[in-house]
Symmetry: D2
């Protein structure tokens, strides 16, 4: 099952041409991933500060299909497509009123922040991610 | 009457010490002001793109009272304290669960984006701002 | 010939784990592209404000190879790999003291900001881009 | 003696009106403070990661005097005006080709990141700050 996060295009996101400056899309994407993990059962505060687990992005690809403008209401849909032992590939789609704006894939890795190396997903997160596979 | 805007402290907001990097507070403040103007009757898209009116900040002062952490739910309260012909001084208070984090004042100016100079507030906005004075 | 841009990893770039928050890499990449265009003969101010030409990114892919830390001195190397009539595919490599951190490709499109559609590169820029092909 | 830091106004800094979005001025200010501390003898990486010392801003006031535009070359001048046991008040002035854009004052506090409370400046930094008083 996909996770959907909603966010307005704010003044802080747009550039001199009045459209979203593309690095801001990735800030929005990260916020969506944050809320996704909370929905999966473990929020970023608990994950980072208590479990000392990070989820760095190790690969990203994106196609920018159409500009998004100040005031647009973006829907960001996240769908896991492959869940490994210590990684997760997910698809993302940004749209405004059904019109696609941005799509792509990212790969997250489960990282032990203390040891600074990858580690298996905690059992509960792995189970939630797998349950969300399409 | 004050306007209250809610925002989580996200991963994108915090620094190496795990607390909000202070320029991010002003991005949040700007988002709050954006939503405030929408609530006052004219959203930033219409204001900037249709009316060609900007609301630059010409003065700002802030006291950072306590750090805000990843996962905190910030309430940002905005209260106009002085409404001029083409400016507005407002107070802002950031708190988490009632505990104050940041307070200060900002001065916005109503600007004609075409002429690049200040202009009187549109009648309806001036009326809404005055109605919100404490 | 490749273009090399240098930038320190600043406090503003790092996250709670003390490493660069990945959307900041794309802000740095955009700064590098800005300086590249200035070196190619037309800076972003002239391009955007005088020529009314934008260079939006329409595709991006990146592999994050190793974390970059506060205080690292990043070298960002840009190399065009394909120059079309109105687009340019370029490779980017981020490294610190020769150690690779991030690599990928981006596709820029030359856009007429007034008409809001793609247009051919200005002659001089096209020539500079082609001259830089490896 | 004042410290001067130079930075271009980049595409990432400007808003839909083509001028610097004011929270970006504070990102630039933080970069200037970073370089100032390096010049004072202790860079932010060593300070934060080795000494476990942070320098949070506890107060800030700023007057935005004139807009800064894409491509402007900003000079940011920092001058300490009061050096306390564990704090430092400094003045900042942003200008472009001598024309003032932004001025104000900030108060930094020396913080023990482990204990999460203020502590005296390290001897060498205190001496450098005092030597720089006008």
């Amino acid at each position: 099952m996909s996770f959907v996060h909603h966010t307005p295009v704010r003044f802080a996101h747009v550039d001199a041409a009045g459209i979203v400056f593309y690095p801001r899309f990735f800030e929005m994407l990260n916020a969506a991933v944050e809320d996704w993990f909370a929905a999966l059962g473990r929020d970023f505060r608990a994950l980072h500060l208590e479990d000392r687990i990070g989820t760095p992005t190790v690969r990203l690809e994106a196609d920018f299909l159409a500009p998004a403008m100040l005031g647009d209401e973006l829907a960001i849909t996240l769908t896991p497509v492959k869940v490994g032992n210590s990684s997760c590939t997910y698809r993302f789609d940004f749209s405004v009123g059904g019109a696609p704006k941005l799509k792509g894939e990212g790969v997250l890795v489960c990282m032990d922040l203390h040891a600074q190396r990858s580690r298996p997903w905690p059992e509960a997160i792995a189970a939630s991610l797998r349950a969300a596979l399409p």
